[in-house]
C-alpha cells in the first residue's frame, strides 16, 4: 500500500467513520447521573441506533462516561480503569459536577474540576441532563472524532507528569501501577 498523504487521508476517513459509529461505553455508574443512563439505553430514547451500547470491562470499552461527581475513593478506581482502556479512548463528563463541582462545591470528599485529573473530551451540562441531551453529547463526540480532534488520550500521555502531580495531591496512598503504554 503506497505510504503517501492522500492514501493516509483515505484510511483516516474510513477509520474514523468506523470508530464513531460503534462507541462502547464502560458499564460504571460512578455517581448520581447513572439514573438517567437506563432510560437512554432502553426502548424510549434508544441509543443503540447510534451504535452506543454498554460493555463490561475496560479492555473492551471505548468511552468512559463519568456520570456526575467523583469521591476521592472512586477517583482512584476511575484512574485505574482509564489507564487500562486501550487507544483510542474518550472521556465524557456528565453533569455540572464535573464542570465546576456543582452543588457539592464545598464538600470535603468530592473533586471539583475533572479536567485536572483525567482529560475530558466533551462535557454535557445539566443536573440531570435529559436523555436527549446525552445523545446530543455523543453526537458532538462523533463530530470531533470525524475531524480527528478527539485526542484526550495523547494529551494524557504527553502531560502525564502534570496529571500525576494533581492526582497525588488528592489521593494520599499511592499504590498504583505506572502508565507506560
Amino acid at each position: 500500500m503506497p505510504n503517501d498523504k492522500k492514501s493516509q487521508k483515505i484510511v483516516d476517513i474510513i477509520q474514523n467513520a468506523a470508530r464513531k459509529h460503534s462507541l462502547f461505553v464502560l458499564a460504571y455508574g460512578t455517581g448520581c447521573g447513572a439514573i438517567e443512563i437506563p432510560p437512554t439505553m432502553t426502548s424510549r430514547y434508544d441509543a443503540e441506533r447510534f451504535g452506543i451500547r454498554g460493555m463490561a470491562t475496560p479492555r473492551q470499552a471505548d468511552v468512559l462516561l463519568v456520570t456526575g461527581y467523583l469521591a476521592t475513593k472512586t477517583l482512584k478506581r476511575v484512574i485505574r480503569a482509564y489507564e487500562q482502556m486501550q487507544d483510542p479512548k474518550y472521556v465524557i463528563g456528565f453533569g455540572s459536577c464535573t464542570i465546576n463541582g456543582g452543588m457539592y462545591w464545598d464538600s470535603y470528599n468530592t473533586i471539583k474540576l475533572l479536567d485536572k485529573y483525567i482529560p475530558v473530551d466533551v462535557y454535557i451540562n445539566g443536573c440531570m441532563p435529559r436523555p436527549e441531551a446525552v445523545i446530543e453529547g455523543f453526537i458532538e463526540l462523533q463530530g470531533l472524532i470525524k475531524d480527528g480532534k478527539a485526542n484526550g488520550a495523547t494529551k494524557y500521555k504527553e502531560n502525564i507528569d502534570w496529571y500525576r502531580a494533581n492526582q497525588k495531591k488528592v489521593i494520599k496512598n499511592w499504590n498504583m501501577p505506572d502508565y507506560n503504554w
Binding site: K76, Y108, K112, L113, V170, K172
Partner: protein
C-alpha cells in the same frame, strides 16, 4: 392537650423511671417518648427495654456535637411493633475524652452505626470489633463531622476552585471586575460576603 390521650406512652415513662435511678423522661407527642440517662446505665436500659418492654426493633442511632457545652449527645432510637411507640434514649459524653461501652451484642446492626460514629466523631467504643475505615479512605485529619473541622479551609488546600468563583459575589460584579468595567447597581445589591 390532656394527658389522657397518651396513656400507654406515660406508662412507659413511669416504668422506666421506676426501675432506673437518675432517669428523666417525658412524652413528646402521640407515639413519641424521650428519656435521658447517664452513660454507664445505657447497656442495662437497652437490655431492659428490649426484653421487658417489647422494644425489639432498633431504628437508628445518632450523635450530635454540642461544641459550646463541651459534650457529645448520643441518641438511640427504638420502636416497639406491638405498642407502636418510638422511644428515644439520650445520653451525654464528655468531649475531651469520649468513651462509652459497645452495645452490639444486644442488636447486631449497631456494629455499623458505631463504626460510622467512631470514624466521623472520634468517639471510642470499648470492645468494638470492626474495620477502622467505613466510609473515608486514608483520612488523616480531624474526624470530619466535628463542629470545629473547617471545610472551607480544607477545600482551599486540597482541591482546585473554578476560575471566576469569588465567594458569594454576584456574577455581574465578578465579570465587571474582571474586565475592568464599572460594577452595576443591581450587582452590588445582591452580592454577599
Amino acid at each position: 392537650m390532656t394527658e389522657d390521650k397518651h396513656i400507654k406512652e406515660q406508662k412507659i415513662v413511669d416504668q422506666l423511671s421506676g426501675t432506673f435511678q437518675n432517669l428523666t423522661g417525658k412524652v413528646k407527642r402521640e407515639r413519641r417518648v424521650e428519656v435521658s440517662v447517664e452513660k454507664k446505665l445505657i447497656p442495662s436500659v437497652l437490655s431492659y427495654v428490649k426484653d421487658q418492654l417489647t422494644f425489639t426493633h432498633m431504628s437508628h442511632m445518632s450523635c450530635v456535637d454540642w461544641l459550646e457545652d463541651e459534650h457529645f449527645e448520643l441518641v438511640y432510637i427504638l420502636w416497639s411493633p406491638e405498642l407502636k411507640v418510638q422511644l428515644l434514649v439520650k445520653t451525654l459524653i464528655n468531649r475531651e475524652n469520649p468513651v462509652i461501652e459497645n452495645v452490639d451484642m444486644i442488636w447486631g446492626q449497631l456494629n455499623t452505626y458505631q463504626r460510622e460514629i467512631r470514624e466521623m466523631y472520634g468517639i471510642q467504643f470499648t470492645g468494638l470489633v470492626g474495620r477502622e475505615e467505613f466510609v473515608l479512605e486514608d483520612w488523616d485529619e480531624m474526624p470530619p463531622m466535628r463542629r470545629d473541622f473547617d471545610t472551607a479551609e480544607y477545600i482551599k488546600d486540597v482541591f482546585f476552585e473554578r476560575p471566576g468563583r469569588d465567594g458569594a459575589k454576584d456574577v455581574r460584579e465578578v465579570i465587571a471586575t474582571r474586565s475592568g468595567e464599572e460594577i452595576p447597581e443591581l450587582a452590588k445589591k445582591y452580592s454577599r460576603d
